[in-house]
């Protein structure tokens, strides 16, 4: 029998796969408690580097046409579909899912990407408008991306959770720093490999693995992060985040207590207002007259 070559799970920052600068690692175990892999125990400095990469990527990503951003999200779906076997294997090992359950999670993740891909050139029409102001002005409001967004992905489902939280954030032109699932981080790292082959510009999505207790406050306090969307923390942690976020009037948004099952529910977790909440409305006035 041949000995397999194992994969080193690193983080995903600025389109590359660095190890944590701290050199620390965390053990990932399977459902029965058996060792699966080591992942990076990311540090505050890793979050800082990720935020720098996200800020640098923001301008270019925002300027891409909506059509192109949509195609890149669709490309992500294509890439995920081609690699579904790998994700099924990881999900089974990591979270103790049956093949059927794992297959369902991957399929749902792909379809969710397709759904959000379609929004890239439609959210402006959905959330923007022309306003019939009383006066000789052409007045319109358009949603624009808010900037760098921190995402605290849910612990479970490990793949569907992170896919469902990244897509609505980046499709408008935001860039993000994602804190991956702490217990089940392998899919998040592998998702980086999907993203890097999807024509997604470097730095648009940055994925950090490690301990939420250490990483989330760094994000909330970071003055160059414009919003944090938290799908994981308990109420007390979230409140602390919200308080810290006030220093930069950060948009700190909580979608807490979503059950694992709910992530499969399109009515609940496939939500155009998750796109809207990380945009800013800009209203322009222009006179009408010869």
């Amino acid at each position: 029998m041949r000995l397999t070559v194992q994969k080193t799970y690193k983080m995903f920052v600025n389109g590359q796969f660095p190890r944590t600068e701290s050199g620390r690692s965390l053990e990932v175990k399977d459902a029965k408690g058996k060792f699966l892999a080591n992942v990076c125990w990311g540090s505050r400095k890793d979050v800082r580097e990720a935020a720098v990469a996200a800020r640098k990527a923001f301008g270019g990503w925002q300027k891409k046409t909506a059509y192109l951003r949509g195609q890149i999200l669709y490309r992500m779906a294509e890439m995920l579909e081609r690699r579904n076997a790998e994700f099924i294997t990881e999900l089974m090992a990591m979270s103790g899912k049956t093949r059927v359950q794992a297959d369902q999670e991957v399929a749902k993740s792909i379809d969710r990407l397709v759904w959000y891909a379609g929004w890239a050139d439609k959210f402006t029409q959905q959330f923007g408008c022309v306003n019939p102001v009383a006066g000789s002005f052409f007045n319109f409001s358009v949603p624009e991306p808010t900037g760098v967004v921190g995402i605290v992905a849910p612990e479970r489902p490990a793949l569907l959770g992170i896919v469902s939280t990244i897509a609505p954030v980046i499709l408008t032109g935001n860039t993000c720093v994602v804190i991956a699932s702490q217990k089940h981080p392998l899919c998040a790292v592998s998702l980086g490999e999907v993203l890097v082959t999807s024509d997604l510009p470097a730095g648009v999505v940055n994925i950090i693995t490690g301990k939420a207790s250490e990483l989330v406050p760094t994000l909330s306090k970071h003055m160059d992060v414009n919003a944090v969307v938290d799908y994981r923390s308990d109420m007390a942690t979230f409140k602390a985040s919200a308080v810290e976020g006030a220093d930069s009037v950060k948009r700190v948004i909580g979608h807490l207590n979503i059950t694992e099952k709910s992530w499969y529910d399109d009515k609940k977790c496939q939500n155009p207002y998750w796109i809207q909440e990380v945009t800013e409305i800009k209203t322009a006035w222009h006179p009408i007259g010869v």
Partner: protein, 499 residues
Amino acid sequence: MATEKPAARLELVNERMLQFGGKWQYASAPESTEPVKLEKKYNLFINGKFVAPKSGRYYPTINPATEETLAEVADASDTDVDLAVRSARQAYEKYWRKLKPSERAKYIFRIARMIQERARELSILETMNGGKPIRMSRDDDIPLAAAHFFYYAGWADKLEYAFPGRNPQSLGVAGQIIPWNFPLLMAAWKIAPALACGNTVVLKPSETTPLTALELARIVQDADLPPGVVNIVTGFGATGAAIVNHPNVNKVAFTGSTEVGKIIQRAVAGTGKKLTLELGGKSANIIFNDAAIDQAVEGIINGIFYNQGHVCCAGSRLFVQEGVAEKVIRKLNDRIQTLRVGDPLDKNTDVGAINSKMQLDKITELVKAGKDEGCVPHQTRCTLPKKGFWFAPTVFTNVAMSNRIAQEEIFGPVLSVLTFRTPEEAVEKANNTPYGLAAGVWSDKGAKLFKIANKLRAGVVWGNTYNQFDPTSPFGGYKESGFGREGGVQGLLPYLSLE
């Protein structure tokens, strides 16, 4: 209103004219036709298969640039159309209307991707069959067709957000008839929203340009669409009439001449079929004194000579404010000398072949009328190929509103130049037509653009640009230019019931 002939001083100043093409000529750069695999004979695409027409009839389709026959194409009879509608109905009832919208979306995304994958081949074929320059089919027609499928694919599972508070329902079988000026793109404009909304389709391409639609049929096959969801029948006016009049068709969409549009409207009246018409135009391009003149001139050129002027929204009437009239005409006259007319497959060609003998005759007749009525033509000095259908780009000065060339849709590379003094006069003249498809306004002053746009009775108004198309942006006309919109959220409406 002031309709007297403009002063003769608008005639060109010949001194200081620029000379072009004497020092450095581009060698011909023809696109290879190697990627295109033509069949000898094309059948009808019904129920997922290519089937011989019950009519037994075929007709030749040619390359208008060479008059060579490219292939034989089936001429569908009433019986063939009936089969196509039946297959569309069956596919609708049994499968398509029941399909989960997100699955419908994925089918349409597949079509978009396959058009992108086969872009080169499709653009060459479009150029061979239609006569349009390869640069346009390559850079505009084919990419935009893919983009259209991509955009509407995304709507398929989001209709409840487009029409909040309603329960949008598909209509059934859509009968769609499209013209020859943008063959594949028009097919995309029709098929993409129809499928996204859950309808099935019977589409008839123009008799002169059926080939890319038939390639699209192959893509539909390759994308594994359920048989009968898309049916493509080729033929002439009678085939179109059979679609329009078929009792099992729930929706008719037509793009073409106003004359035929009126016939269709009468035929459909009282049948309960939903109807959209995208018809002719005599669109105005208005240049104010304060416009960025060189860019405006470029916009006029693009507005009228793009696609040999075979564009329903072609800016065929130019209104220039008197202060810059001389300047604009001088620049136009120099600019048309750099238009490269000839082999549509040459990557450097700007103006290709006229689509058909019939169209060439119509253009020739109207240009003669222009000359007879005293309008002064200025043409690109170029040698036109002996074979094929060609017309040199033409700019008429000394035109009055009452001249036929200023009134009738020419659908060719012919521009009428008129002048105006005040914004109000420009608006009055621009609106003084039964058509209302599009208009262009050129001014450096934003407020003026919006003011004029407000006053123009046209479905699309371009400010400091012209002939821009995007799947997210609705397109369609006022008045005799038709009704209904294609593109954008509004482009879903013709294919849904919101009862």
